[in-house]
Assembly symmetry: C2
Homo-oligomer: 344 residues x 2
DNA sequence: ATGAAAGCGCTAACAA
DNA sequence: TTGTTAGCGCTTTCAT
């Protein structure tokens, strides 16, 4: 007995079921399903009969069975630190959409920058036979030949890998940001001095940003002692907050510019500043990497470096397509950032 | 415990391969793989031999084959409007994590509130045999019996469904927010008047927020004309911006309080205000649904209603587990919000 | 204590 | 024009 079903809601009917019920063979059914009926000269009558039957009873292919047979799941995966960070969430949204347009489905998972979580997820995705993996790596160590080499690294370049990688040009961004801040100080009659709240220094992107700023300071002839780097262990809100508190409690005065290596650190730093009620005027120059609409709300001069997420995803996806079709153009892509200045 | 992970790149080995290579049967291999060796009195020697072989050569189960056999994919799906909205991204992060803890993998997809996209995604996930679906519905129409009824609705209650649903108590939140704003006005000697920038009115959550505010206005004895509702078609940045521009260009003065129905609308509205350089002082009372750290940065009195995402995800996941184990407690869950007041 | 075999639903190669 | 069959790798049931 076959229950009457509504389109889009068919109780898993198989091609065999349909063939049996219609007294035809699976091949016949499949050919009209694939639209190859004409090509293989299936009779007009049969085709119509099959069409009607399917229109009425519905049919949804069993993708699991297809995958097993074809050794291909039409599924890609993305592992990133967290989705609650807008930058990563935006990357995920863009990539998921891009994949879907290409008939692939994306699985997104968060590893919270934990090496163990990352490894567990990699294993999991291997077992699930995903066709390829996009990875924001939590660390430098990565086995070779994973996913039959269909692996694209994103956002962080640990420099060790035989995998293609797409990152922002963080060193240059740091340099340009530093330049802009220093020149703004000079134009507005302030002595250029910078406090940099730097997140996890083992992250290549964070480190590059720091280095870029250092270079700007050096090339602009600002005394090195005018750049204070307050180091935080990671890149979160609490890291920024704690780092700022430490700085303030060391009794130091606020420099003319406050820069942070990413948005969560920035938010934490401002929270600490507000809590201490000290020296946080509308004149204080602020800067951060990554951008956010909410920065518009600050009365201060604010400068941020925006990463080009759509561009990065385009590059990463193209790289993956290359790997999947064999035209491997294994490459290192470096995407430029854009400086966004507010109230300055 | 038996480590089944591999280091390096063992080319997908099957249980059959291993059995062949070792001159044993698949059953034997499987029994030690499952840790049932003792139980089924497999000889100590055989067990060790198998263990060693696997430790050396590695083995990753083929999840696709397993799924086909068991008619179960250990995969759940989540369809939501977009990930670039922090609220949805946070929900996704929490849910993905929760699922993973339970040995399930989550597939996240964005439908951009398009009915067509949503339907395509539902079909796709059906074909992929996901065990259950979490859905932030884009519209009221939904086929019955989807996913063998393992469907949990999130964030929006269209009120028509036979599926369990988890939402925030938006009407009450609107009411409490309205109360707070009105009493603050009265305390600080302002005449209570409210401009509400309301997003897509066909979204139950948005509508409930509006209704809550209306009720507060009414019960507080504020003249109805002191509540101006500026309607926007959707819930995005541009919607807020356009709505605010329309309001200002109609030549109206800013009321004592400006409320928006969600964060993107709020951001858009503030952008418009800043663009028009008009009447936007630090005294202007602001309010919005949903919360965001960046609201801390505003010098104004700001009030927001924070949804309890962890709680909502707990409820939704528990509901899904109920559906999957047959203890269906089909229910409607309404999660309370928290008022967050800044500078007031 | 271990082995053999059926079958999940699909695709592709080969028959008729 | 249409039909038959052999797997994909796993789990389960039934035989040794």
């Amino acid at each position: 007995m076959h229950p009457i079903t509504i389109t889009g809601n068919a109780m898993a009917q198989t091609v065999d079921d349909i063939a049996d019920h219609m007294g035809l063979s699976v091949t016949t059914i499949r050919l009209v399903l694939l639209g190859k009926a004409r090509q293989y000269r299936i009779s007009r009558a049969t085709e119509t009969r099959v069409r009607d039957y399917i229109d009425e009873h519905g049919y949804q292919i069993n993708h699991t069975a297809r995958s097993l047979r074809l050794k291909r799941t039409d599924t890609l995966a993305l592992i990133l630190p967290r989705l609650s960070n807008h930058y990563f969430a935006y990357l995920a949204e863009l990539l998921e959409c891009r994949c879907r347009e290409a008939g692939l489905q994306l699985m997104v998972a968060c590893c919270d920058d934990s090496e163990a979580n990352q490894q567990a997820l990699i294993d999991n995705f291997q077992q699930r036979n995903v066709d390829g993996l996009f990875l924001v790596p939590a660390n430098a160590k990565l086995a070779a030949k994973l996913f039959d080499n269909r692996l694209v690294l994103l956002d962080r370049d640990f420099g060790m890998s035989e995998y293609p990688v797409v990152v922002s040009d963080n060193e240059r961004a740091g340099f340009e940001l530093g330049q802009k801040l220093i020149s703004f100080c000079r134009q507005s009659g302030r002595d250029p001095s910078i406090l940099l709240l730097a997140g996890n220094p083992f992250m290549p992107s964070i480190d590059a940003r720091t280095e870029g700023i250092k270079r700007a300071v050096k090339e602009a002839g600002v005394p090195r002692k005018n750049l204070h780097v307050q180091q935080a262990p990671r890149n979160g809100f609490s890291d920024g907050k704690n780092a700022m508190h430490r700085y303030l409690r060391a009794g130091q005065n606020l420099p003319s510019v406050l820069v942070s290596s990413s948005i969560p650190v920035f938010e934490g730093a401002l929270a600490a500043l507000r809590a201490e009620q000290r020296g946080y005027s509308c004149e204080q120059v602020l800067a951060t990497f990554d951008d956010n609409t909410m920065l518009d709300f600050l009365p201060n001069p604010v400068c941020s470096m925006r990463q080009d997420c759509p561009h990065m995803i385009d590059l990463a996806f193209a790289e993956m397509q290359g790997l999947m079709t064999g035209h491997a153009t294994i490459g290192r892509h470096i995407s430029p950032l854009t400086l966004v200045a507010r109230n300055m």
